[in-house]
Structures are given as C-alpha cells and as structure tokens.
Point group: C2
C-alpha cells in the first residue's frame, strides 16, 4: 500500500466559508458523494466507530475517509489498514475543519468517485460546530463516560448535528449516565435529531447506524 | 446562599495576553493566592475531581473556584453546594480562557483572600493549551476511556501542563488503556510532568493529588 497522503491545512481567514461550503455541497450533489462530518470530544470513539462502520458497509459502498488532527497520522493509518482510501489533514494547532480544508482532502483522494466519505473532524465539542464543512450531514458522538449533561454545556454542537451516536453504552453500568435525561435535553435543542445508541467496541447498535447511512445515501443519490 | 455570580466574558483581541498573564501572576505572588488552571476534554471529570479535592482540603485551605463554560451554570452550582465560593464565567462560544477572563473571575470573587483558587477551563484539549491564563500551575485531566494515544494528538496540552491526572482508573478493566505506553508518550513531550492516577468517583489516588497541592501551596507561600 502506498504512503498516507498528508496535507498541512491552514485557515484562509479572507475566504467566505459559508459560500465555500455551499459550493462544495453543490459539487457533492453533482458527484453523488455523500459526505458525513463526524464530530466529538477527544476519545469519544470516532475512529473506532469508523472502523466498525467501514467493516459493515465496505462491500456495498465505495468509502473514503478524511482524517483530521492537530498532529500525528495514527488515525489515517488505522483506517488504511482496512483497505479503505484515507488521507490525513494536519491542522497544526487549528481546532476545527472548514470547507476549503475538506475540499483539499477530497481533491487529495484522487480521481476515483466515492459513494460515501467520512470526515473525522478535530476532537472538540466547541469549534467544529461553528464552521460549515460543506458535508451533507453532521454526525456527533457522545460517549457515556462523558456524562449526560453535555447538551447544556455545548448546545451548538447538538443543534448543528443531524445524528447523535451515544457510544460506549457497554460502560453504562459503571456510570450514572441517564439516557432519558440526555434525550430530553437533546430534544429541547434539536427536535429533529436522530439518536442511536451504540458500542463501537462490542458492535451493539452498529447495525442501526449502518441502516441510517444506507437509507440516507439511498435518498441522496 | 446568595446567587451565583455570572460574568459574560469575551476575548479582547487587542490586548497582549502574555503581558496580562505575567501581571496577573505577579499579583497572585503578592497576594499569596495559588491558582491552578484545570484543563481536559469535555466529560473527563474536571468538576468531580474538584468536588473530591475540595472535600479533602477545605478545612486546611481557603479555596475558591472559577468555573468557565460556553453556556450554563451547572458546574458552579455543584461547587457552591459544598459551601465554597464559586463564580461562573460564560464564554459564549469561545473555546478557552485567557488571563483577562481569569482576572474578571478573581475580581468577581470579592475582597476575601484565598489560598487556593481552581480555574476550571472550557472542556477542550486544543485551544486552552495555547493561552496563558496567568495561573501558577497548569493541570490537565485525561480520563481512561479517552484512550492512551492522546499525547500524540494533542501534544501542546501535555507540553504546557505541570501535572497530568489520569482519571477514571476504576474503568481501566473495560478498556485497553495502556498506562505504561501513555507515560512513555508523556515523558517524550514533557519530562517534568507529574503523573497521578486517580478515580474521582471512588476517591482512589485523591490523597496523592491533595498531597501534591499541599506541597505546592507550601512552596509557593
């Protein structure tokens, strides 16, 4: 396998990100490429969720992954070990992705066409919510050990996301996580949010999440 | 108990933060107030660690807490229930604290003098590492479910912190967290970092952390 392509990306503060995101989304519609922007805190399980999702869907859909990190290429390497095309964006201290960075990643994946591209955003519940990446859908992960109070603290992230994956439900019994209270808080912020409970470690609920993707990709193309 | 004081804070992009931090630190030395800037991902356990630490030390030291959040005052309320003076900074979307915000919090705590003030920074492993808050020591929490690879992804946070609290060690057996590998990664970035393993939930290791604080406050005053 060839080396992982690594792109150093920087914010272009002079560009109009909303306009760049709109143009990118138009192009994705023309290309029939469904892009999911995946956001969470550090360590909530983005890469592990991706690995499970890829293994569920890779025989049905042509999948690519754009990894982003402040530093390091460890995540892209893990994805590449599944045989999936992955590129790494290194943001050099920058705390979120914008549309032009995602476009750099998509261009860097080469001329093949993809049905589904995951963008793994920088691990952060604050900044990524503020910037439209041009993705078709925004998906966030909240892991059980983080606690059920996060909608009160990071409301914008819950408002901007289409799907909430509650990950690490296998750890539920070790915590006082109240799923019902969480769902009430979510509904207050975002009535349309789809909530799916999963454990990327044990595989529990990954089938429901894969079904959501299948259905969304079908509606899109 | 009177109402929690809430301050809306904004970044002053024209001010020199490094200079403001230096001035604040000089003042803290004169006042003999030891300020700890506590940083972590969302949900790593900052508030729970604070609650346990306060209960361990409140009979020996006059303690105050400055809470910061994008939104909500839930953390300050939890602290106030322990009888400790707490103020809340609301950053309105801003992803970290700077020295002038911390000064706002300290001024807002009134004219009493404190031996020890905890600043609970915004839950984020990226931005808070980039801004000197004027605190005497920087302490970060990494919780076991977040994984042992975080030094590779958020190196600046590990470089800037004096103490690493590894929290939620009671969850160790449910994860593949490799404490030895983590410590090696930490040492590569920051040879002087003090690493203490704790469970804020069960109380394990809190005595060691309290001892570190006692000793640091003693050296400071």
């Amino acid at each position: 396998m060839d080396e992982i392509k690594l792109f150093e990306v920087k914010e272009d503060i002079l560009s109009d990100n909303d306009e760049a995101a709109r143009q990118l989304r138009d192009k994705l519609h023309r290309d029939k490429t469904f892009v999911i922007n995946l956001m969470s805190s550090p360590g909530a399980g983005k890469t592990t969720v991706l690995l499970k999702t890829i293994s569920e869907l890779k025989d049905e859909l042509k999948i690519g992954v754009i990894e982003a990190d402040i530093d390091s290429v460890v995540d892209a390497e893990k994805i590449r070990n599944t045989g999936i095309r992955a590129v790494q964006l290194r943001t050099g201290g920058f705390c979120h992705l914008d549309a032009s960075m995602v476009k750099t990643g998509l261009d860097g994946m080469g001329s093949e066409s993809f049905d589904l591209v995951f963008v793994e955003n920088v691990g952060n519940l604050v900044c990524p919510a503020e910037f439209d990446t041009g993705a078709i859908k925004n998906v966030m992960i909240l892991s059980v050990p983080e606690g059920d109070d996060k909608p009160m603290k990071y409301p914008l992230m819950f408002t901007k996301s289409d799907v909430l994956l509650i990950n690490k439900i296998d750890m539920m019994e070790l915590t006082d996580f109240d799923t019902k209270a969480l769902k009430q808080r979510v509904t207050q912020l975002n009535r349309d949010m789809t909530v799916i409970e999963i454990s990327a470690k044990t595989g529990l609920g990954i089938d429901k999440w894969a079904d959501w993707i299948r259905s969304a990709v079908r509606d899109f193309t």
